[in-house]
């Protein structure tokens, strides 16, 4: 089916998220929509899927103008979508999720679960998936959940399939498998819109590329274009894709983690007997697919997990069972993975956010009273130093862009004297410019002789920053390898396979 968008415009108040966007997807074509976070890709697709109503423009399928007042209409017209955040109900089974919204019933209004199971099996076997229709979605790995989303769309005979940032949650191997699935779908005549900001994937699978920047189509490209060409088109200026980094000069093993395990409220070992060291002046990156225990590991170091066994020694002091206050006082800086939930208080100003972890004494508090003058002075100096773009120090943190929010968090953590810096997903959802800035600051921290622990699910980031890489899988560390380890090996390790022995470093 041929999909055509003509002059789609969508405004949110004063913000124009989509500005007269034209896009044509031919039948059996994989069309990539490339753009930075916040460029308006997802908005455009939500308009296509009927979740938003366009202020202007029209949608045509096989040259017929369509009116979608909701996702139901879009689905009926043959549009399917694999959402970035899966639209699956965790407590339902696969079959229930697939049938939801177009349920078949038997006598007495009874749901025909058997028919739904059969449908799941039929579509699964067509693509070689191995999915149990009666498994609860909550129990499935993320990669499999995505397949359930694909099955859901195909069960409604989708002729145009939109993949919204589908690879963000996948291992490199799963990403490769997804590419195979996309090609299979294309062979079968499905038109595919593939939204991403990852250049490598685009070049691998796309037939045509449309680049969007700040809500406008800024150009078309062919898959033969180089990474640099695509990146400069996407960002609007020449960008350095990797930050310059000198070889590490590792010192003593300042952080020594031994046999660390974390037990969650269900009694599962989410971190399972993990041991590693981080030396002064080196970056240890923890790679792995989201949800393999990285979050809990960093929280355990920060004293945020209640049931921890093993040992966490920083400069010879035991931090396990220490309170968060003690951990901070020991000189640990922490960038949490969800900055808007855990890193900042949105309703507080930039200045207030900058002193959040220093509310217990001088210089910002004297005799129980906030020293607003000192704070203002400090904040003014810091927003210049960290290039925080805001109207002033009195701006609420929630009003800032993601990049500037992350700079506030970094500024707060790095303006203390640190003995250890822990950064979890430091650049998630940031634009290319902010990523450069964050990476530069992290490397500067390392060069100042601080041990740095970076947790990232983005392989690009891991490779760009790490001196050594520890790969986590299902709570354990698969191996610790040098930063120069090839991606293919890292990819296998992220799927839990041990690399061949010579690659394993101490």
């Amino acid at each position: 089916m041929k999909l055509e968008l003509r002059g789609i415009t969508k405004r949110f108040g004063a913000l124009v998220a989509n500005d007269h966007i034209d896009l044509t997807v031919e039948p059996g074509e994989i069309h990539c929509l490339l753009g930075e976070n916040g460029a308006g890709k997802s908005t455009l697709m939500n308009v296509l899927y009927g979740l938003y109503q366009a202020d202007d423009g029209e949608i045509l399928l096989d040259d017929v103008v369509q009116r979608f007042s909701g996702p139901g209409d879009a689905m009926a017209a043959g549009i399917g979508m694999v959402h970035q955040h899966f639209m699956l109900i965790p407590v339902f089974t696969v079959a229930e999720n697939v049938m939801l919204g177009h349920e078949k019933t038997r006598a007495g209004g009874r749901l025909d679960i058997a028919a739904a199971r059969e449908q799941v099996r039929a579509i699964s076997s067509r693509f070689g998936f191995d999915i149990d229709p009666d498994a609860l979605v909550d129990d499935l790995p993320v990669g499999v959940q995505q397949r359930v989303e694909i099955i859901k769309a195909l069960s409604r005979d989708a002729k145009v399939l939109v993949f919204d940032e589908p690879t963000a949650v996948l291992t490199p191997q799963e990403t490769d498998e997804l590419m195979v699935i996309m090609r299979q779908l294309k062979e079968a005549g499905t038109s595919i819109v593939f939204i991403t900001h990852k250049l490598r994937e685009v070049r691998e699978v796309a037939d045509r590329i449309t680049v969007i920047r700040l809500g406008k189509v800024v150009g078309q490209a062919s898959p033969t274009a180089t990474n640099t060409e695509l990146a400069s088109l996407m960002v609007g200026r020449a960008v350095e894709l990797t930050v310059h980094k000198d070889p590490a000069k590792p010192g003593n093993a300042d952080l020594v983690v031994k046999n660390l395990s974390v037990i969650d409220h269900r009694g599962q070992l989410v971190v399972n007997n993990v041991s590693f060291e981080v030396h002064a002046g080196e970056i240890l990156a923890i790679a792995g697919v989201q949800g393999n225990g990285q979050t809990e590991l960093t929280e355990a170091i920060m004293g945020l997990q209640p049931r921890v066994t093993g040992s966490i020694m920083l400069d010879g002091n035991e931090l396990r069972k220490a309170s968060v206050r003690t951990v901070l006082d020991a000189g640990v800086g922490f960038v949490p993975e969800d900055r808007s939930e855990d890193g900042l208080i949105a309703e507080f100003t930039i200045a207030e956010n900058l002193m959040l972890d220093r509310s217990n004494g001088e210089p910002f508090v004297k005799a129980g009273t906030l020293q607003l003058g000192t704070l203002a002075e400090f904040a003014e100096k810091t927003i210049v130093e960290f290039d925080i773009r805001a109207q002033g120090i009195g701006t609420h943190a929630g009003k800032l862009s993601g990049g500037n929010q992350q700079k506030v968090v970094l500024a707060r953590e790095l303006s203390r004297s640190l003995r250890l810096f822990v950064a979890a997903q430091p650049t998630r959802g940031l634009d290319v410019g902010s990523i450069e800035f964050v990476h530069t600051r992290i490397i500067a921290t390392r060069d100042a002789g601080t041990p740095v622990l970076v947790v990232s699910t983005e392989l690009d980031e891991v490779v760009a920053l790490a001196d050594r890489i520890a790969v986590m899988y299902r709570g354990g560390i698969v191996g610790i390898v040098p930063g120069t380890t090839p991606r293919s090996v890292l990819g296998l390790m992220m799927a839990g396979e041990l690399p061949s022995t010579p690659e394993v470093a101490a």
Partner: protein, 433 residues
């Protein structure tokens, strides 16, 4: 779509099995400690402070097919035997915990039953305990709780926290009394109660869904509003014309042939008013509907992940509005039981917190209609036990016994339920971003 030929590698190497993480061995001592305390209480109460005499249990009523003999137990001996059983069960639970095994629910249920028999025989020493009467009364007191809990389950499953059950019960009670008296048609009274309950909950639905007001606050305000409104109307309209407007009479008991003659079960379950038979149907229907029909699947999806429901073409807010209204209609029937089923007239604030106990039953029953029904029955039993013991003259002060239903509620919800997961989106309005 055609099948793609097989020169491509099979794209799936990950089987869709459960993620199995290693599990730590966790020993939970909560149950053994609780059981141990109760076993200790039983030794002290039934043994050390045991009472002499004979406890009699009357099991049959005159109309049963078979007359069961009156069960007579020597109080102290029975108490000692039962407390030994309780100690053994507690020891078994301790052993289970030591071996890091789960203490099953059946063990707790058996323990509770034995404790209850022990307590009843201790309390009724020298008297006769009318077992059938105790149970019949329990079912009666549970009826509004069960209807209220069903309303709560539906409402919360669809994503709206229903604190206004109390208001729905009270509105149902008032309107059913008024309509049934004025028309002399009890069935019109039942229908009117459903309408009244639905009206109250549609206000809750409108404010929480359309105007995004905090659902708990709207619920609390509605309770106060309905209380005030019915008090006012009672004083100004019903009281002056009590004979014509507040005299609905009580619905007749309809014994079901054959079934009603079975000892104990017959009088308890099958010699009841039409409202209770409607209740049986309602419990089954809500359970079947929630888990086996399209209606229930869509309803639950709206309460778990409204955005996912939206993306498959379900109108979340419409689903929520109508189902919350339906929940109110069901709770309204529970209100009608106060006036048409048991008392035979409306009086001020006659629901006396039943709506809140129903809310507790929803949580204790983990948002499942059948389990919530059993929870409501437990609370009804605790309430009735209190009045039965007061009548036969129990050694426990009556003021203390009055607390019993509420203590059972607190212990049940706080102690036994602990942390449970309700519908994920309950209480959160759905706004398309």
């Amino acid at each position: 779509m055609t099948t793609v030929s097989g020169n491509l590698a099979t794209p799936s190497s990950t089987p869709a099995s459960k993620i199995v993480l290693a599990t730590a061995v966790v020993k939970s001592w909560k149950s053994p400690i609780a059981l141990g305390i109760f076993a200790l209480v039983s030794i002290v109460l039934f043994g050390v402070f045991g009472r002499d005499g004979t406890s009699s249990f009357r099991l049959s009523s005159e109309t049963d097919f078979v007359q069961l003999p009156v069960l007579a137990l020597p109080t102290r001996a029975a108490g000692i035997v039962l407390s030994i059983l309780l100690v053994l069960l507690a020891a078994y639970a301790t052993w289970l915990a030591y071996r890091a095994r789960r203490v099953n629910l059946w063990l707790i249920v058996v323990f509770a039953l034995i404790f209850m028999v022990g307590f009843l025989s201790w309390a009724s020493a020298g008297h006769t305990m009318p077992v059938t009467g105790l149970l019949v009364g329990s079912v009666g007191l549970s009826v509004p709780l069960i209807f209220g809990a069903l309303g709560g389950v539906i409402s919360e499953r669809v994503g709206v926290v229903n604190v206004a059950i109390e208001g729905q019960l009270l509105a149902g009670a008032f309107v059913s009394a008024l309509v049934a008296s004025a028309t002399r048609q009890p069935f019109l009274g039942l229908a009117a109660a459903m309408v009244a309950g639905a009206l109250v909950s549609s206000v809750l639905a409108a404010f929480s869904i359309k105007y995004l007001v905090d659902q708990v606050i709207v619920g609390v305000v509605l309770n106060v509003l309905v209380t005030g409104l019915t008090n006012f109307l009672y004083s100004t309209v019903l009281s002056p014309a009590n004979e014509t407007l507040n005299n609905p009479g009580i619905l007749p008991r309809i014994p079901i042939p054959v079934l009603s003659g079975i000892p104990i079960i017959g009088p308890v379950l099958f010699r009841q008013t039409i409202i209770i038979y409607i209740m049986y149907v309602a419990v089954i229907a809500v359970w079947y509907g929630l888990f086996h029909t399209k209606w229930g699947l869509r309803l639950r999806s709206s309460g778990e992940h409204p955005q996912a429901a939206d993306t498959v073409g379900i109108n979340v807010n419409r689903t929520r509005f109508w189902n919350v209204s339906l929940a109110g209609a069901i709770a309204g029937l529970g209100g009608a039981y106060f006036t048409l089923g048991s008392i035979g007239g409306f009086s001020k604030e006659m629901t006396a917190g039943a709506g809140f106990i129903a809310l507790a039953a929803v949580i204790f029953g983990r948002w499942d209609p059948i389990k919530a029904t059993f929870a409501a029955l437990l609370f009804g039993f605790a309430t009735n036990l209190q009045s039965v013991l007061a009548i036969i003259g129990s050694p426990v002060p009556s003021e203390f016994m009055l607390m019993l239903p509420y203590i059972v509620t607190i212990v049940a919800v706080a102690g036994l339920v602990g942390q449970v997961r309700g519908p994920a989106a309950a209480g959160k309005p759905y706004v398309k971003s």
